[in-house]
Symmetry: C2
Subunit: 510 residues, 2 copies
């Protein structure tokens, strides 16, 4: 079929059904049809990015909107690609919240990039299931190599490299990363203390730790009363206080409980606080506990020499995690986990059924890794491709500049907030997140909660920007996280102008 | 940048770095650059599919091959897309096992298709993280709608629909599906019996059940001695015998244990056996246990009326799972899970941190689903797009023909095996998997293990086909699973001719 160069529209009406209505049956993977349809989709996607600023950043639809637009049952006959594109434009896109918009400042970023997108395409094309080395050696080997590269970029201790007893692996999310190391630590402890010690196992973290830890504990069967959520130190910008951890461990041990796991964070979700890794590492070592470091967001910044000091102490950790899909231009999902001793992961997560046995397998030779034994699921995508392509097509120096640029933009925003006396910066900025709020009027009953909620809601309802919130020491705080790939200086200024105007309005009506 | 229509090669040497070497910084998501590079990748992928039969199906590289070809550290400067394509051709593809080859017959299939590929592209382009409804309403709503469509295609009882108390959700894999329902069932039981009953919880399945169940038990903290792996009934084609389950439950209850979970399979991994759902459902109901049905592979066949009877009894189940990424043309990963009562999932898997609270959230209104509470991770991709596109672009009738064609091809292969007296079909074929082996010579010491291993190894080492194996009643059995999208009659005949020729060779040398 000839290639249609008209940029996203086609009058041929050819679908992807490959003449599937005839007796010859469906040909769902015809190379020339893939080529034609693929080119049309590339144009559709490029046009989407070109016009991304015309959409409300936060989708403005109401619950149930799509049910009214789609039929109740699947179609029995095929439709054309053109009809599908129409539906995407008219029905799907209004319900999309545009994480790639330059005006997206909510939660933390989730970066797409040309290199990452190309990597996703290639991975979807091979469509392999890389559970064992043999099912696509390149998938396992590229992952090992690229995670070693990345460990060196972060200057992780050499024990985290695959050439030592450790190694890196791509998980889907930071939630899965903390779960698998929690399981490894749980089982290591149970082997020492007997498995009926289950109800005595205790986990330590701060109240700023991501909810993924709580969820991991629920899944792993850690008793809910044995998750010690210690109040973070307001005077240390919401980092955990080591003496509080020591005190809690001491109390628990005197009650006959078994402390086994500490989760530290570099760049908490609420305010990008950095826990004191070295002290926590010493505590973990003294009590034979597992120390995990969650640097899901801020890990990316640590490839820059001037931010690397935030990882000082990682040498004491048992595991370390950062999300390349957040602020590192690698499309979601791509969460990087390194462990110092891979055998603990494998002991907790391996199974070896007959139907997967082969002459190249991890349990038979030390020459290969079977990543199925390092993760929750059996199947896994070829995710190392996109990370490799990001590193190859951009290079480390450009990636460092990319991070620095966002931090500079966040600094500008912070300065703008400081320059308007109606606002306050709630915690000092460390990376590219600014935590701020509109100061409540003296007569305010709820310490500015409604005021700031209204400001956020007005901003998000305008469609012009998307920001999110948290609560710190009872204050309702607005979060402005810079990090979308398309964000430039003018977007920061426009966002600030909008927030100033809306502040005037909400202050006026309060 | 002008579009290059020359079909995969470009002399411009433009990378995806967007002039990132200048002081202006990296522009990693420029729409026109995405367009140009995207078109080149489409051509690369189409050319790959065009030439897919020229590659060895099973990669023939040796462990460590890639480390010798790539540098030890990440590049500091960007490289061109052309250089990257060269590396993919020369270094990556030799290490790929070609799951999309028409000569791929190993394990179970993992389908790619034009529609699925386009869905992956669009999902990677939006690159949203759909943990809550608000983070992209279309992602949640399309998933709800398409899973309801699919439930109707499978004629699942109406309780499994989102409009009742149940609903469907896309998991990554069948492993995650069985894990989340095991957790839901575990916690439901612990709420009734007290959480210190942990060590008394017992799970039942056959020795043909996928290893994912064992792994889920390890993760959920079910004691290993409490996983009852009952020997499947050879006379029922390796289905579980209900009376064995009843006996085991009775023994366990008299020991004070708490039976709480049965995992049934429709289409086991070794031999596509079908467990008796109705009887297992009655047993589960009588003892207030959770019944999960794993139809990861064979579920696709059940959209055809003539195969739907294999799901009879599903009305007794609490949860049902099938993988659209196996035999349903939806690129990996896309595992569909339905539950009869979603509240159990949500009770086990929800967390509600401040930074994710919003005015449209599941815990505040019943009008939306927040799928973060139905799965292990927090983040999730927009996976419903690709399933929707497969259904729209092919239509249910074509998809039924697609399944029927593969089953016909498997029937042909089975007939070919029967026609050669040196071979035997080990279990009757039910769907598109044929279990067979070369009959051992009378003097054979190991009942044909070495003979069949050698046959498989010779076939896979030839690069012409890829098959896998299992063990049934001590017999080493070869598995020939038809289901790759490109497989046609001529591939079946060629595979059989190869196996016959190699049989002559291995029989001659044994």
């Amino acid at each position: 079929m000839p290639r249609d160069g008209s940029g996203g529209s086609s009058s041929s009406g050819t679908g992807a059904n490959g003449g599937g209505d005839g007796a010859g049956g469906l040909r769902p993977m015809d190379a020339e049809q893939l080529r034609e349809c693929g080119h049309r989709m590339v144009d559709f996607v490029a046009d989407y990015y070109k016009s991304i600023e015309t959409f409300p950043v936060l989708s403005q639809v109401q619950p149930g909107y799509l049910k009214k637009l789609l039929p109740d049952t699947a179609p029995s006959k095929p439709d054309t690609l053109e009809a599908l594109f129409d539906d995407i434009r008219e029905k799907i896109i209004p319900g999309v919240t545009h994480w790639q918009s330059p005006n997206y400042f909510a939660y933390y970023p989730c970066n797409s990039s040309t290199a990452g997108f190309l990597g996703e395409m290639l991975s979807a094309a091979f469509n392999i299931v890389g559970f064992s080395w043999i099912t696509s050696p390149a998938a396992t080997e590229l992952e090992v190599i690229v995670l070693d590269w990345f460990a060196k970029m972060l200057k992780l201790p050499s024990q985290f490299l695959s050439t030592a007893l450790g190694g890196g692996v791509i998980q889907g999310t930071a939630s899965e990363a903390v779960l698998v190391v929690l399981l490894a630590a749980r089982d290591r402890t149970l082997r020492r203390h007997g498995k009926t010690s289950f109800e005595k196992l205790v986990v330590y973290a701060s109240d700023q730790t991501h909810s993924a830890l709580q969820k991991a504990c629920q899944i792993a069967g850690i008793f809910s009363e044995n998750l010690r959520v210690l109040k973070a130190d307001k005077n240390k910008n919401y980092a955990i206080a080591p003496q509080d951890v020591i005190a809690a461990i001491s109390t628990d041990m005197s009650s006959g409980l078994i402390p086994f796991f500490i989760c530290a964070t570099v760049g908490t979700t609420s305010s990008s606080a950095v826990d004191p890794l070295t002290e926590l590492g010493q505590i973990a070592k003294a009590h034979d506990m597992w120390l995990h470091i969650d640097a899901a967001y801020a890990g990316s910044a640590c490839i820059c020499p001037e931010y690397r000091h935030h990882l000082n102490g990682v040498e004491e950790a048992d595991s370390f995690n950062m999300n390349a899909h957040k602020w590192f231009l690698t499309n979601f999902d791509c969460s990087l986990l390194w462990v110092k001793d891979r055998s603990y992961l494998i002991q907790s997560l391996s199974t070896n059924p007959e139907f997967l046995k082969n002459k190249f397998q991890a349990s038979q030779a030390n020459s290969v890794f079977d990543f199925k034994d390092w993760q929750i699921p059996l199947g896994r995508r070829f995710r190392s491709l996109k990370l490799w392509m990001v590193l190859r097509l951009y290079g480390v120096e450009n990636l460092q500049s990319y991070i620095r640029k966002h931090i500079e933009l966040a600094k500008h925003f912070e300065q703008l907030v400081i320059s308007d006396s109606r606002f306050e910066v709630v915690t000092p900025r460390t990376f590219s997140l600014v935590c701020f709020r509109l100061l409540p009027l003296t007569s305010d009953q709820d310490n500015g909660r409604k005021l700031n909620y209204d400001l956020m809601d007005a901003a998000n309802s305008s469609g012009n920007i998307f920001i999110s919130h948290t609560v710190l020491s009872g204050k309702f705080v607005l979060r402005f996280a810079v990090g979308a790939p398309l964000t430039e200086e003018q977007h920061i200024f426009a966002a600030w102008k909008l927030l100033q105007d809306l502040a005037t309005r909400v202050l006026g009506s309060s």
